[in-house]
Symmetry: D2
Subunit: 206 residues, 4 copies
Amino acid sequence: MTSKAKQARNLIEGKPALIVIDIQKSTFIDDSEVRSIDNMPGYKDRMIAARDLVDAAHDNDIPVIFIQEVHRPDLIDFGRELDGDEDVHCLEGDPRTEVAKEEMGFRPGDYVIPKRRYSAFFGTDFEILLRGLKADTLILCGGLTDVCVHYTFVDGHQSDYFCRVVEDCVGGSSIQAHEAALRAMEYLQTGAVQSRATVIQAMSAA
Amino acid sequence: MTSKAKQARNLIEGKPALIVIDIQKSTFIDDSEVRSIDNMPGYKDRMIAARDLVDAAHDNDIPVIFIQEVHRPDLIDFGRELDGDEDVHCLEGDPRTEVAKEEMGFRPGDYVIPKRRYSAFFGTDFEILLRGLKADTLILCGGLTDVCVHYTFVDGHQSDYFCRVVEDCVGGSSIQAHEAALRAMEYLQTGAVQSRATVIQAMSAA
Amino acid sequence: MTSKAKQARNLIEGKPALIVIDIQKSTFIDDSEVRSIDNMPGYKDRMIAARDLVDAAHDNDIPVIFIQEVHRPDLIDFGRELDGDEDVHCLEGDPRTEVAKEEMGFRPGDYVIPKRRYSAFFGTDFEILLRGLKADTLILCGGLTDVCVHYTFVDGHQSDYFCRVVEDCVGGSSIQAHEAALRAMEYLQTGAVQSRATVIQAMSAA
Amino acid sequence: MTSKAKQARNLIEGKPALIVIDIQKSTFIDDSEVRSIDNMPGYKDRMIAARDLVDAAHDNDIPVIFIQEVHRPDLIDFGRELDGDEDVHCLEGDPRTEVAKEEMGFRPGDYVIPKRRYSAFFGTDFEILLRGLKADTLILCGGLTDVCVHYTFVDGHQSDYFCRVVEDCVGGSSIQAHEAALRAMEYLQTGAVQSRATVIQAMSAA
């Protein structure tokens, strides 16, 4: 059933911003088999692929916002984050916590937003920045698909943003969780799940 | 890997509250085959089962909070909710939008919180109420497992509440989505997914 | 000193909305000398004057949003509101708590937002509504100038809205507090404090 | 009138935290007569006096949280802050924007929270930190009394914290505005306005 209240949407509605979620040094410098947070196979390659989105955003004057998970070293701000599958992670001062600026082609003029929770909206100035930029469409990449990406999408959705997720530039805690999260986001906004190629094309056309 | 920062949790930590999410009249009076929001098979029976939790909460002086999805009739507050799988739903003044008070055994002293978005925390006085009640553990039932239940869980989790979801008293948009959401919640807090029988037992012991 | 970053503003920037704060029946039906919340002399007349703004908004198709302070009868949601000068007030179910719809010329299509705290933004769906309306400028009237009006102004200001307060259609807990709050709002946005006549004229021109 | 719902409060209820608001290097290194933000006479001495509170907090193992106003150098996040009396201020990278750590006796283990708006709660992780610390009473010092201190107090008040302001360790944009803000805070919580001597004594006794 489709009522008249529903309408088709473009991949980019209004003004876009690229949101790069938690692509941090640990992905590139930590090869330990046991990690504080599980990653699906091919995770690192998916983060490397996100670099193409950053380059395309730069080429088309689309703002790029890097979200960085970071916790205070005395663990005071972990809340319930250690009650589940994740162990202590992303401590301030640990080199693995740094945004992967070189790998991602970070440029002056790009933004960094540290966060303590999964959603980039929670306890941060993300929304202040989005309002300043007058952004309408959030294009999400990074990880984890089923945690920080999914829950940032949800808050963006609830705050009236058009949200898109680039399926080959996000990675989950497992393939199953990754795919379920993509389906959940597509449920919220039809056409939310897009490929890198299509998004880059839309960025050029914007 | 388990660091010393992690610790086992009881089903009920501190003071509990039962959160009944979006169990509204439509589930009981609307038998149309095409619905504005899809439900998995057995959905209605799962909502009926939630009544046992309400009764147990009443018996044990545990606060009961009914969350009610409701939208303004001029559709002004739908935001992006019509950009996805859902159609116009839960309009104010429609009898199907009413909380299923009779079916759920609603009593004076129970609370009702209307909401416009998926998370019960978003744009509501839910957190004001939880603080007044000094609640620590949120026990969730109702629907949809993969939308309002999941996203209320996430916001509760991010706000430092212990969150539990009663797996046989929640229902999803599909079985697949229901199960994926349960796994996502269990990822966030180990032991989050519990059965009705176990929760009722814990309520009695609390 | 004025840097280039500063710029002059119109009384109405973009799309306006009229925000009528806490004009409730108690002002019109409660003549007790000892009140749960103090009011400055002439308070009632100032609320009556706000009716002209409502009429002008209706005449010019400007959305009207009535904010209503209301607390749950078991006092669970008062938070710290009884730690200061105010006593128990605005209980749900008390006829004095109702929005003064007749006195204010409430029409179908106007909005009502109940709130538990001073700011209309805190624990409410006010911002969801403002986004739906695409409002840019908030025109405030009602009471108390130094409490709910002031703190709604501040949150609107912090959320990037252009905020105006109609000085002869707001009333404070005392004349001194009323005037101090007007100065504080003018500090935040130059030209924020306006008279009823000027605002009505700007509404017609909008 | 005092109903039974009202009760007397201690200066420190539960667990305290000291909140040092916007005491930044500019107060100590900027002697220009024309400032981007006006200060009342004696402002600097009041900030120096706040050092005693920091020392007392350290002596009594009370957490100390430094709030730092800081804006992105491209001015993207100023919102409406340049629409009023204030000019461009507190840019990231400007030495005057740094927290006055030496002057205030900052120690490892103290916290820093950058903010973009007046209230320390708005768009920050302040509440995440307060929850982690299990803080109940917020003791405020710094500046401006009538802007960042006042509006942080209000949000703390609305979030159920006991709030105190140390009258000889805060400074306003003018004496008049300073005094009006103190009265407004005392209106919200009786006994909120306290002297440095009394607060230090209470810290020792806590």
